[in-house]
Amino acid sequence: MKSRVSEFVFRAQSLDVRPLAGGRPPIVLKGLTFDVKRGEQIALIGPSGAGKTTLLATLALANEPDAGALEVFGVAPWEMSSGARHALRKRLFLAPQAPPLPPRQRVVTAVLAGRLAHWSLWTAIRSLIYPRAAASAHAALVPFSMEDKLFSRVDRLSGGERQRVSMARMLVADVEVMLVDEPLSALDPRLAHQTLASLQQQAAGRGATLMCSLHQVELAHAQFPRVIGLREGAIFFDAPRAAVSDEMLADLYAGATAPSPPVAIGDETPPSLAADARCR
């Protein structure tokens, strides 16, 4: 079945997903149904806690759905053996929001780690002794203007620089699907714009599918041909850019159940507690 080329990279049918962290958290994603075609570029937006990260993890085969059907590259990964599923992961790449790069590692090694899925153990060890593919690491850093940090240590980098290293790692990984979780969260507006443009250009140049969760709604709306709005674990809208109106965007965030209401610093008595105390 491997040779069959599916038009779709993902097909999800009423997916329910519970995130793995913690004991038995409530279901976060409820009844998601959508398809993603090869080469699409999709922005994933929605209020905090809507389930964007969980959705990306699910698509990266890093979180098993509770219910529903998920097809990746035309096959059902959670019905396969662990080894076959792991082979599928080589064709996907998940770049987490806080890039977990070992602080004592050098950028060149951190970027080349993206090749590990394709390297033999011997090649991996040899490259640890002397980075053989340093040129490809350099080439992957160029689109993000990070090439001068090739031999710097990760702990000397800022948060935004680490995010860009993580994306350079994704470029050397040479994958068919790029799943990126809030890549711009630590970048200033100008750099965010540039980085997103590079990312989209690189994905398109490789014919790779790009799914990107973003908090910059305007940027998502302006740059991505398709936008999925996620709210409280369900798809609020899933539409081409032209069909996404300002009202839809406003509704997506309107009256959202924010994690906690902002409490003024120095206000020692949160309103709910004060009310509670008065009742006694």
Partner: protein, 280 residues
């Protein structure tokens, strides 16, 4: 805003407080019978008889034996002790490293996305963990007594005893160091399709190499001490010399040997510090 006009004192109760207090009281209640059972009466150390015996014993230590002949012989024995410890620990590492890789859950691929391992690997891991417990539950002294019977008097028995019991300890603690470290870096590589060992080298080891090295050097220090004790049952080295000197009631010689021990342990300390600085 009545709360502002009519200030109410709100008491923030730490929800963890009751559990903590309970556990603290329980541990005291458990400790008391233990002290009774071990007849823990430290004041007996300081009564007239004990003080006299201590004084006589300690005064026989002075002056330490310094004849060139004796010193040369002791240095040779110290060299044998170092060799026993180093050879034993190297052999132990040879067993411990592969066992660690099987025992640690960090490098499990089947757990990704599910949070639980497949049954096969889980049973293998538990089996190895049980084997490690069996290996380290037998003190090295007992192994040494056994091997002295098998291979005869001499350092070989000491080397084998250290190799066996220390491989159990090393593998257990190595696995725990790897599991208690921040696992994100290695997990991310696994989620992107990397194999276990490449993920170990690129994601896991960079985060915990100093702890692993410092524990290994500490174990080397323990092996030096252990080989001294095993020397007393005929496994060669400084311990055998110490045993002889003690039996001949030659306090000066005992003092010299003890000073040599302190020097060896200090050496291990310096080595550990230097390695940690190098790796930081």
């Amino acid at each position: 805003m009545r709360a502002a006009a009519d200030p109410v004192v709100v008491r923030y109760v730490d929800p963890a407080w009751r559990t903590r207090a309970t556990w603290a009281l329980l541990s005291v209640a458990l400790l008391w019978p233990l002290l009774v059972a071990t007849q823990f009466k430290p004041w007996e150390l300081f009564d007239e008889n004990s003080r006299q015996a201590t004084l006589v014993f300690l005064s026989s230590f002075l002056p330490p034996a310094t004849s060139i002949e004796f010193l040369v012989e002791m240095l040779k024995s110290a060299w044998v002790t170092l060799a026993i410890a180093t050879a034993g620990l190297s052999l132990a590492l040879l067993f411990a490293i592969p066992l660690t890789l099987v025992a640690t859950s960090r490098l499990s691929i089947s757990r990704i996305g599910r949070g639980r391992m497949n049954t096969g690997p889980l049973v293998a891991r538990q089996g190895v963990r049980f084997g490690l417990a069996a290996l380290r539950s037998v003190p090295e002294l007992v192994f040494a007594l056994l091997f002295v019977r098998v291979v005869g008097l001499g350092p070989t028995a000491g080397v084998l005893a250290i190799a066996l019991s220390y491989s159990g300890m090393l593998a257990k603690v190595f696995a725990e160091i790897i599991e208690s470290g921040d696992g994100q870096a290695g997990d991310t590589l696994l989620k992107n399709g990397s194999g276990r060992l490449p993920a170990l080298f690129y994601g896991v080891l960079p985060g915990c190499s100093t702890e692993l090295v410092s524990y290994t050097v500490y174990r080397w220090e323990c092996a030096i001490r252990g080989s001294v004790i095993m020397g007393m049952v005929g496994a060669g080295g400084l311990g055998q010399q110490l045993d002889t000197s003690m039996k001949m009631l030659a306090g000066g010689e005992v003092a010299t040997i003890l000073i040599l021990f302190i020097a060896l342990v200090a050496l291990a300390d310096v080595l550990s510090g230097w390695l940690r600085r190098k790796l930081a």
